[in-house]
Amino acid sequence: MPRQTDDAGAVAGLHRPSAAEKIHETVRYLLRSWELYAFVLPAIIHVLLFRYLPIYGLRIAFTDGFSLRSGRSAPEWNEFAHFIRFFNSAYFIPVIRNTIVISLYSLATWPIPLALALMINEARSRFFKKSVQMVTYAPHFISTVVVVSIMYFFLSPRIGVVNSVIQLLGGEAIFFMASPSWGPSLFVLSELWQNAGFNAIIFLAALSAVDSSLREAAFCDGANKLQIIWHVEIPWIMPTIVILFIMRLGQLLTIGFEKVLLMQNDLNISTLEVVATYTYRSGILQSQYDYATAVGLLETVVNFAILVAANRLARRIGQTSLW
């Protein structure tokens, strides 16, 4: 709720203001503070155009015959025909399976930045600490296109370093980037390479706020480093962990779509076609706008539901929540 301004508070303190008084008071307030609203207005309009208009556009998921030219579709509700078509299509099972596999695989690696932060925090030399930090979050600034092309090189069966090592050890060269079984792993590992250091920053910040007298007390009581991490540091930063985890859950099915798209080729698409890339393919490339909107909407709704559920759970067990 917006806080009352001081003069409004004074009026409310004396007697209940009538509707006319309220309007009068609001007008006076706006005359005085209209500039603040003028400051926000451009951003509001921008978000209306580029964020809310697309949300309004979701209605084409429930109708037939959308035409890009007119921007209209048939007025009547099509009884979930697009959704039913997706459920019955041959793509449904593989696309959902790939999405779930990659999502859960990524989620399983979520604690790694936390572990990295704990490790960096334990390093004794300040210089070493700073160097590790600086180096590990540099890849975050490299574009997805470049990361994927580095992967093509590095993992190439012809010139790749990884395969040279495999062959040196007497193994067979593997064409990683064309292998369906390697697809999800390569995606998840490259995401870690790119973002683990960056995601560790926030944990490191939380760790730097741990009360050092607690650490010393535990140390005096004979706790070793692992025990201090487990019984002092982790409980201390738990609220941060919970909040970040909820936010991560809200993005559960949002897979680094650009990277998957760039990694896809005819050979590995069987494990790398996920809901978002399928939406792109069927919607933009095959111009089935209404159908693809329905598929995309499923993902948004599931994500949103998971976020709400996770937030409720966190509020119940941890007394922390996003809202």
């Binding site: 500039e35 400051f39 451009p42 951003a43 949300i55 556009g57 470049v146 092309s149 090189f153 370093v161």
Partner: protein, 300 residues
């Protein structure tokens, strides 16, 4: 200094440092390898002779790349788009963030909700695509500068910054002197907010410089391709040597191999050219990023 560490803690520290060194090498090596491969003899690289330092030093690749118009145009376009979006973004975000930081602004909770909601619920790719098309931005450079100009995360960061860095007393005394909101914003808020403006600029430039998907959606005209889309063509769709695909049968196997090796060399060099600007700036800007994330994490 006396070392108070117990035996187990000493072992712990050693293992910890060893693991961190592994992480360090694993992070650096792929990029380092591309850099040394780009200045080595491609024959030696493909034979697996180059892994620690350059061998058969040559800069032939770079002389090709720097003459390649596509890459240079991509560079120029990306620079224009990044600067353009950043300016639009600042104009839209900074005043809004300041207004929303004012505790005396009515309905600001409601307005914040209006913005934050879009972080969690979106229309998805297709409706977004349709909207941008209907706004007439297909094949327009504006499609790469306008749609992401308001980033709610940046808005939250800037708002938090203003909330904690502009004391209420300052506003009150300015108001007593008859200073209106616009003047206060221009002469007090903007100078105080320089740090946060720098952060928003950096976030915008990096994000725009690395983006390729909107260009893939909206831009057909190759003259308007941003660098990332050029790179995608050259590096991932394997089209570096123009005309490399057709008429290969007519060439001798040696010629094909020679071309293949040259193509590899050019790709290594292209990657280096693509990441060079950010990597050179990185040591200077990374502090600000960390600061930005800290400010953002206080509430957001």
């Amino acid at each position: 200094m006396v070392d108070f560490r117990s035996r187990s803690d000493r072992i712990f520290d050693r293992i910890n440092v060893a693991l961190l060194v592994v992480v360090l090498v694993a992070t650096l090596y792929p990029v380092y390898f591309v850099v040394i491969a780009s200045v080595s003899s491609p024959t030696l690289v493909s034979a697996g002779h180059v892994y620690l330092w350059p061998d058969g030093f040559n800069v032939e690749g770079y002389s090709y790349i720097l003459r390649d118009k596509r890459i240079m145009f991509g560079y120029r376009n990306s620079l224009i788009y990044a600067v353009g979006q950043t300016i639009i973004s600042l104009v839209l975000t900074i005043p809004a963030a300041y207004a929303l930081s004012r505790r005396d602004m009515r309905w600001r909770g409601l307005i914040m909700f209006y913005f934050v909601f879009t972080l969690y619920f979106t229309g998805g790719i297709i409706p977004f695509y349709v909207v941008v098309l209907k706004l007439g931005l297909k094949d327009s450079v504006w499609s790469l500068m306008l749609p992401n100009a308001v980033n709610v995360f940046n808005l939250i960061i800037a708002r938090t910054f203003f909330q904690s860095n502009i004391p209420d007393e300052l506003l009150e005394s300015a108001q007593l002197d008859g200073c209106n909101n616009t003047r206060f914003f221009v002469s007090i808020v903007l100078p105080v907010g320089q740090a946060i403006i720098a952060i928003v600029v950096l976030f915008n430039v990096v994000q725009n410089w690395n983006a390729f998907f909107h260009a893939l959606l909206f831009i057909n005209d190759q003259a308007k391709y941003p660098l990332q889309l050029v790179l995608r063509r050259l590096l991932i769709l394997n089209q570096l040597l123009s005309g490399g695909g057709e008429g290969l049968e007519a060439l001798s196997p040696e010629e094909i191999q020679r071309r293949q090796l040259l193509a590899d060399l050019l790709r290594y060099g292209t990657i280096v050219v693509a990441i060079a600007p950010l990597m050179i700036l990185y040591p200077f800007i990374q502090r600000h990023f960390v600061k930005g994330i800290m400010v953002g994490s206080i509430k957001g």
